[in-house]
Symmetry: C2
DNA sequence: ACCGTTCCTGTTAGCGTTATCGGGAAAGGG
DNA sequence: CCCTTTCCCGATAACGCTAACAGGAACGGT
């Protein structure tokens, strides 16, 4: 009984290790290890004795030692841009929730800038912490370059990446979302639809432009030159002024809800009513958008689903499989009060 | 030259280890270790030879082995509620940015529910990954209980915690923020200020209530019964209706920007103009709030500063110091267009 | 020439865990 | 009753790294 702790729950000098438990239970260290990892290979009675000793000493396995011999750490890395943004934050959150259910911990590397170097640096940081795999959330064209130059022995998947990259990808089908938004506006009777998109080098922005344009072209409508903002309400406001000044504009599909907020304000300031004079559709369905003025029609992305897919793709990859490489999640159109039929002059 | 890699950058069968580098450089393993950890204790020429070998073999230290012997992992844990919320997301982001500069990686454990058990479970998950310390972001009264029952040998600090807890705390001075908001409204000439606060068990909500109430009492103004929402625009909208229906309400201090958004809408729907009839102040300064209608006067929290403080408190704690235990960050009032002087009837 | 320092490097011994092999007891089959 | 199989458990040897000590060379001062 003269072990590190003597049963009273008194503070120990040094945390218990496998050997302490073994000694207290009167078995070998290997048996304790087996109780913890493959319990059914140990006789029930022995197992009970060992577990009692584990509790008695408040023993916790040392992950470093375990990792050293097994080669696995149970940690996944997530490399992501600014996790303050709604999309990346939601994705990260859902990845973590999913990973936890399978016993994985998540380490993060947030990027302030996005380019090949920063991605490599983020991946590298996680890698030198011996993560078992990495999920990269970098919805930027410039990320593609980083995704093509990854350490070959590290399992990696991406969220929101362009085509022609050598890793599996999970993402929302931006194109489909834009198609729905644009069709919705046309079906209300608008002659055509203007677009205020995100920055040129964002994957999501490109997908949304494509979808928007494809519908207009398929329907034989004029395709106005798209404007490009930077996702911020500020840029939505500035560019929204231009749209507001053009009386032929009756319907605008905006690349995200924040910019849409800016557009709503610009319209109001210009005396153009939404939706009577101009219809506006956003993208994302941030929690606030139902309380904009007017409540915003927008496209909802299911980040939970994206997180789940990304995780499972990574699991496959870690298992050495080279299966499915691209999983698209369908977005939903949420119709609120910022869209309506145009009023004929 | 018959080592694992033969210089051409050909794929290796197995990643290089310290011994491989040592062999290639013609030194002992210990010297390689020294080159990596205490470079100035190695002769320049030897160091160069070793570094060349490191690059040649693309050697990366094994963190598990290093951790096993040093006892340190270089990983910090962050236990946080829903990292989708603006505050926690910003805090997490800033903690990570700060930690990186000091060479630490951050692992996360997001909580969906907040209570003693979930906190313990989160801390435990990180702990069994051998983090060097933990930052808990749990701005809930119920978290206090969890904070009082932590493993004694684990360095922990909290962000946004109540009084009388046994760990260092970094947080925004909610009370001061509320004081500024309330004073601002009184200085505009309002007779008194109503308050729409957050949920009762949130630390931030309590602090804001206290600050608001203290100003009214100090000035001898009537103290209306505060309303309690749940931070969502929805609840702001619902409770905002009640305020809108009461003609004596001319100034409202709202617990966060999202609820303030709901209040703005409720006022508009009731035909009460902001700021002409009613002034509204929010809290947080989310990026959207400058584009609300009207642009929202609000209180800005400097999460970057909070993250920095939390990290440094944790560093101190890990170094065994028991220094400063509470660091408050001063918030700023951002005056926009949702506040003004009351119009006399 | 000698001795004490300082500088540089190597040897040895773990850190705490699991893989692997092997052996004894118990169980099953003839 | 013997032989095979199954079940449990233990001894040993890694895993890749660094702490601690030790020793040789070079250097300075006397």
């Amino acid at each position: 009984m003269a072990t590190a702790s003597d049963g009273g729950g008194r503070p120990r000098s040094r945390p218990a290790v496998l050997g302490d438990v073994a000694a207290l239970a009167g078995v070998s260290a290997m048996t304790v290890s087996r109780v913890l990892n493959t319990p059914d290979r140990v006789r029930a009675e022995t197992r009970a004795r060992v577990l009692a000793a584990v509790r008695e000493l408040d023993y916790w396995p040392n992950s470093a030692a375990r990792q050293l011999v097994t080669g696995r750490s149970g940690v996944l890395g997530v490399v992501s841009i600014d996790t303050t943004l709604y999309g990346p934050a939601s994705t990260l959150y859902c990845i973590e929730q999913t990973a936890r259910l399978s016993g994985y911990t998540v380490s993060i590397a947030s990027l302030s800038a996005l380019n090949r170097r920063s991605i490599e640096e983020g991946v590298h940081r996680l890698r030198s912490q011996s993560v078992d795999g990495v999920i990269i959330v970098a919805p930027h064209e410039s990320a593609a370059d980083g995704l093509r130059h990854l350490p070959p022995d590290l399992p990696v998947v991406a969220v929101d990446a362009g085509e022609h990259i050598p890793v599996p990808v999970a993402m929302v089908d931006q194109r489909a979302g834009a198609v729905r938004a644009t069709r919705h506006l046309l079906s209300l009777g608008h002659e055509t639809v203007w677009h205020l998109g995100g920055p040129a080098d964002w994957i999501d922005a490109s997908g949304r432009i494509e979808g928007w344009k494809s519908v207009l072209e398929a329907e034989g409508r004029p395709v106005p030159e798209p404007l490009r903002g930077d996702w911020s309400p500020r840029s939505g406001h500035q560019l929204g002024r231009r749209l507001a000044a053009d009386p032929s504009v009756t319907a605008v599909f905006v690349g995200n809800d924040q910019m849409a907020l800016g557009v709503l304000r610009a319209m109001r300031e210009a005396g153009r009513r939404v939706p009577e004079d101009v219809s506006v559709v956003g993208f994302d369905d941030v929690p606030e958008s139902a309380y904009f003025w007017p409540p915003l029609t927008t496209v909802r992305q299911d980040f939970r689903e994206v997180g789940r897919h990304a995780f499972h793709l990574l699991l496959n990859r870690m298992a050495g499989e080279d299966g499915e490489t691209r999983r698209l999640v369908e977005p939903d159109l949420v119709v609120r009060e910022s869209t309506g039929s145009p009023k004929r002059a």
